[in-house]
């Protein structure tokens, strides 16, 4: 027994901070999340992107033990979320999409309330974030603007120095200045410790800045999961000019999205390779081919459009 225990501890310390295995959730007949498998290594930041209803929030809610898991497993820091939630919650921080909390409390009361549940609460972290965000602890929650509420939410989620931070579209509907402050707060936390972060977002610029890896969800399924830099280097937008009156004959299997307009054939491919381009030119009646890099925002749109186009 003791060896098994030793092994569990070993995997817990070295294994990924977050592990999803075949995670599935159905609502009625439709799958909100289907067979989702991915891992977030310790100390890295994963940006979870996808259009509305892609299953980002459902995934995060299952991770937080707020939704039951229909099939598959989710583990945080090596612990199964359906069995160890109270222990896991001591070691993670969570910022929900809607920052709703006790409106009648003062910030100081809300801090005191939250603080009492954590063994590792650090007043210094809390105070420095209060200062950074310029929050007045005597203010009541109901007097706070949305931006201030989001900052309070972050402060409450990180002051117990969590090993994992989970943010569910934390910055939606915030003005650019508040976003900047919020990201600054998150970065400070990430820099202070080797904190693992999972955040879902619509703002791809923020994902590009904050995330090591990106996971793209569509219709509850994982489309892409890779390092952001790798994705940006490997994916290309190809523009080919077709000869008069002909249509493309061969389409690379790596195509994410394509469009033909007059003589212009646009394709987004991932990954792009010289071999692919050679074959493209050899197999198709094209005059010339031009290759450009493509930003995360466009890449995301192409993935979504490509999916919608195919039945």
């Amino acid at each position: 027994m003791s060896t098994i225990k030793g092994e569990t501890i070993a995997t817990e310390a070295n294994g990924p901070a977050i592990e999803l295995e075949g995670l599935t959730k159905h609502y009625g007949g439709t799958a909100a999340v289907e067979n989702l498998t991915l891992a977030v290594p310790r100390g890295t930041t994963l940006g979870l992107i996808g259009p509305n209803g892609a299953g980002k929030s459902t995934t995060i809610k299952m991770l937080m033990g707020m939704l039951t898991i229909d099939a598959g497993r989710a583990r945080i820091l090596g612990l199964d979320v359906s069995e160890n939630m109270p222990a896991i919650k001591q070691r993670i921080g969570y910022v929900p999409e809607l920052h709703q909390t006790y409106r009648w409390m003062r910030i100081s009361e809300l801090i005191g309330f939250t603080r009492s549940f954590y063994k590792t609460w650090n007043d210094d972290v809390c105070d420095s974030l209060l200062d950074l965000f310029g929050l007045d602890r005597r203010k009541k929650v109901k007097q706070l603007s949305k931006g201030m509420l989001t900052k309070v939410s972050l402060l409450l989620a990180v002051s117990h120095e969590p090993e994992v931070l989970i943010l569910d579209e934390p910055m939606s509907g915030l003005d650019p200045l508040v976003r900047e402050e919020f990201l600054d707060g998150v970065l400070r936390v990430v820099c202070e410790r080797q904190c693992t972060v999972l955040f879902s977002s619509h703002a791809l610029g923020d994902v590009q800045r904050m995330a090591d890896n990106v996971a793209m969800l569509y219709d509850g399924k994982l489309l892409v999961h890779c390092p952001v830099d790798e994705l940006l280097s490997s994916a290309k937008r190809v523009r080919a000019v077709l000869r008069d009156g002909v249509l493309p004959r061969w389409q690379p299997p790596e195509t994410i999205w394509q469009q033909v307009q007059r003589r212009e054939w646009l394709l987004t491919v991932n990954p792009c390779s010289p071999a692919l381009l050679d074959q493209l030119q050899a197999e198709n009646p094209v005059e010339h081919v031009e290759v450009n890099s493509v930003g995360l925002e466009d890449l995301f749109k192409d993935y979504v459009k490509g999916r919608r186009g195919t039945p």
């Binding site: 970065l187 820099c191 923020d206 590009q208 800045r209 031009e290 995360l296």
Partner: protein, 129 residues
């Protein structure tokens, strides 16, 4: 330094290019230290792992050298290497412009003319006090 999160150039490469340009411009001289990874991350608003990746790349290119526990220092040849790097970046920018020109079937003579005009524009505006 300022990074553009919407640019399609990976952020770590943007940081590499900008630090290289700063070294070439003499902001950081040989033997001097670069700002720490954490402070770079917070000031640029990017993930510290990304900054580390950029610093590793700079070290691989021989612009900086890491001294354990102290930080990153510009190498003796850092300045020259950075200039070479910058030349490479400039060449790449020219290449992109030339590709655009070729797309529209511009002749070599017209391209030279454009280049001369741009050059004159920039240097005249700089020399006039």
């Amino acid at each position: 330094m300022k990074i553009d999160p919407n640019n399609h150039v990976p952020i770590f490469l943007q940081i590499v290019e900008q630090i290289a340009a700063s070294i070439a411009a003499g902001v950081f001289r040989p033997g001097e230290s670069l700002p720490a990874q954490r402070s770079l991350a917070v000031s640029l608003g990017v993930n510290p792992n990304t900054v580390q990746k950029a610093l590793d790349e700079l070290e691989r290119r021989g612009l900086v050298v890491s001294r354990r526990g102290v930080g990153m220092f510009v190498t003796d040849r850092g300045n020259e290497s950075a200039l070479t790097q910058t030349e490479e970046v400039v060449a790449e920018a020219f290449r992109r412009g030339l590709i655009a020109a070729r797309e529209s079937n511009l002749t070599g003579a017209r391209m030279m003319k454009i280049f001369e005009n741009v050059l004159l524009e920039m240097y005249e505006s700089r020399e006039t006090p």
